[in-house]
């Protein structure tokens, strides 16, 4: 089965600046993926490329095997997109926004959309611009869900919401995923926002993918090793070192293990997801410092 999203050396340049560069990844169907990275890492660019709002400068992007830009008539009905600012027509009422969804989407589920608005107690007759940020986000999500896409892309969906609205919003996403066969990609610069709902992870930093995989696999393969400094090189030949710090005789390595680590000279610690992500983002920060210094 073709993956929900597949990119090959995907890049997008604005002027001389690469917003995204050499991005290769594959998001299997039915997964909920957290797209994590610092601000300016290229998360928005990747999502915009996936829905055809932006065209690639290099490489290719496919959703369900379709080019979102060239085969837009086929690809668009299958992809839902929620931009960060939750753009809606401010002068329209909530009811009119639902009508927009109905008019523009052949697969529109009007009943579900109205049910959802009623359940959230959103006023149908009120103009969108008079709603709170949380309410607007819910209207935008309702539109994206009632379109009945197979792939739903949410760009920083909770960034502008207060903690309560955040919970409610993510709960809605979880319910939608449970209801039917839906692949979701959510981006955020804070993993904690998404950890609860995701099973896959993509870390983007400096416009490149740093880590792609299922969260279980990622947690299982990353280890913190403490051991003799003079043998650090042996470890790095076997495993991918994400981060290292050296004391006088002792070295601490955060590695992505390729196979079992059984060397008795090293103490092995397990890591939780947040520590792993921070290590990758810390690596990013270190590289950025290097880039500034050089």
């Amino acid at each position: 089965m073709t993956p929900a999203l597949e990119t090959q050396g995907l890049g997008r340049r604005y002027g001389s600046q690469w917003a995204l560069h050499g991005c290769t990844l594959e998001i299997p169907r039915g997964t909920v993926t957290a797209l994590v990275g610092p601000n300016g890492a290229g998360k928005t660019t990747l999502l915009r490329l996936a829905v055809g709002l932006t065209s690639p400068s290099a490489g290719s992007v496919r959703v369900f095997g379709l080019d979102p830009r060239e085969q837009d008539a086929e690809a668009l009905p299958r992809v839902g997109f929620l931009a960060q600012e939750h753009p809606l027509y401010g002068s329209f009422t909530v009811e009119e926004m639902l009508r927009v969804g109905r008019e523009l989407n052949p697969g529109w589920d009007d009943e579900a959309a109205h049910a959802r608005i009623a359940e959230l107690e959103l006023p149908l007759k009120k103009k969108v611009r008079t709603l709170s940020g949380g309410q607007r986000a819910q209207v935008a999500l309702t539109l994206a869900l009632a379109k009945r896409p197979e792939l739903l892309l949410l760009d920083e969906p909770v960034a502008s919401l207060d903690p309560l609205a955040r919970r409610e919003f993510l709960q809605s996403v979880v319910e939608a995923v449970a209801d039917r066969d839906l692949t979701v990609i959510l981006s955020s610069h804070i993993l904690a926002d998404l950890e609860r709902v995701c099973d896959h992870l993509v870390i983007l930093a400096l416009g490149r993918t740093q880590l792609v995989g299922s969260i279980d696999e990622i947690v299982a393969s990353h280890r913190l090793l403490t051991g003799p400094r003079d043998q650090a090189e042996d470890v790095s030949r076997m495993h991918d070192v994400v981060r290292e710090s050296h004391a006088e005789r002792q070295t601490t390595l955060l590695v992505r293990a390729n196979g079992h680590i059984y060397d008795a000279q090293w103490t092995v610690h397990e890591l939780d997801l947040e520590e792993i992500v921070l290590a990758y983002l810390g690596q990013d920060a270190a590289r950025r410092r290097e880039a500034v210094l050089s």
């Binding site: 915009r48 829905v51 055809g52 709002l53 932006t54 065209s55 837009d72 008539a73 668009l76 009905p77 992809v79 839902g80 997109f81 931009a83 600012e85 753009p87 809606l88 027509y89 401010g90 329209f92 009119e96 009508r99 927009v100 969804g101 008019e103 523009l104 989407n105 052949p106 697969g107 935008a140 539109l143 379109k147």
Partner: protein
């Protein structure tokens, strides 16, 4: 998509309709009044006749049409097609500026279909508004056109208003996609619309087709210029060269006639390099050619501008 396009330009359409309604409220009663005058003053009998009695009738007709006609003749209403054209560009520009295109372009409708619908609505509305505009003023001007020819109100009649409104719409769209700030784009577009109109009206239009010219003596009637667009008319010699002598010549050539009237001795005038009138003009018969050329000019420019805007929008990232 049809409903959405309509819903998004509802306000602008109402504004344009209100503007036209306001003009109608003023000019419909006035038009009825002018048509009445035309009948009651027996103006029809004097069309194209250059007798003294008729010039009195025509002069009287002009005077009695009143101040509104003066305001109309001043050309202020040329601003209206521009306003309507620019206003109808707002829904598209607003959507680009506010970033709601990210909503529209991520529904199931392709960007091309979205664009065709939005631009189709804008162009359709603009043409409809231009139709109302030209219907109102072509009707209002009928009596005056019959009496004095159609050239005076060239800008308000028949098909040219379609070109003008479309041109304003095209300008606003093209500049809007370039600067991406609606308010600034509208101001610049409107300025360019006025500049374009002034340039064509004052410089280019009379050159569409090489004007005719005629030199005729004071005693002869010369060509019938009453319904022509007279570009220039000046005293000249027999060859049509402008008279460059001093006013003293007229003194010298003046002869006192039997009843005490002074009249100019033609032979004397001719000897001094005068005695003729030279006129450069576009005859009444060219009116439709000029309407066609002007409409094609503005309409063609409008299509290019709209095509440019569409191309930019389709390529937007």
């Amino acid at each position: 998509m049809t409903w959405l396009s309509w819903r998004q330009q509802r306000t602008e359409t109402i504004v344009a309709a209100a503007l036209l309604a306001l003009l109608a409220v003023v000019f419909v009663p006035e038009g009825i009044h002018v048509a009445d005058l035309f009948v009651h003053q027996h103006v029809a009998r004097c069309i194209n006749r250059q007798t003294q009695a008729c010039s009195f009738v025509l002069g009287n007709f002009t005077l009695s049409t009143g101040s509104l006609q003066g305001l109309f003749a001043s050309g202020w209403f040329n601003l209206v097609p521009g306003l309507i054209g620019v206003a109808l560009a707002v829904p598209v520009l607003h959507e680009l500026e506010n970033g709601t295109v990210r909503l529209a372009w991520t529904q199931s409708v392709t960007r091309r279909r979205w664009l065709v619908s939005k631009l189709g609505f804008a162009v359709g509305t603009v043409l409809l508004a231009a139709g109302c505009f030209t219907l109102l003023f072509t009707w209002y001007q009928q009596p005056l056109d019959r009496a004095f020819g159609r050239w005076d109100h060239f800008d308000f009649e028949w098909i040219v208003p379609f070109g003008y409104t479309l041109f304003a719409l095209g300008l606003a769209l093209a500049i809007g996609v370039l600067v991406r700030r609606s308010a600034a784009a509208l101001v610049v577009a409107y300025g360019l619309y006025v500049a374009g109109r002034v340039f064509v009206e004052s410089w280019l239009r009379k050159r569409f087709i090489t004007p005719l010219s005629a030199t005729f003596g004071q005693s002869s009637a010369g060509p019938n210029l009453s319904h022509a667009w007279v570009i220039s008319e000046f005293p000249s010699n027999k060859a049509g060269r402008p008279f460059v002598g001093t006013p003293g010549v007229f003194q010298n050539c003046a002869k006192v006639g039997p009843a005490g009237f002074k009249h100019l001795n033609q032979g004397c005038m001719v000897r001094h390099g005068a005695g003729f009138t030279h006129a450069v003009y576009q005859p009444a018969s060219r009116f439709w050619e000029f309407q066609g050329i002007e409409t094609a000019l503005f309409g063609g420019a409008a299509l290019l501008l709209i095509a440019f805007a569409a191309w930019r929008i389709l390529r937007t990232d």
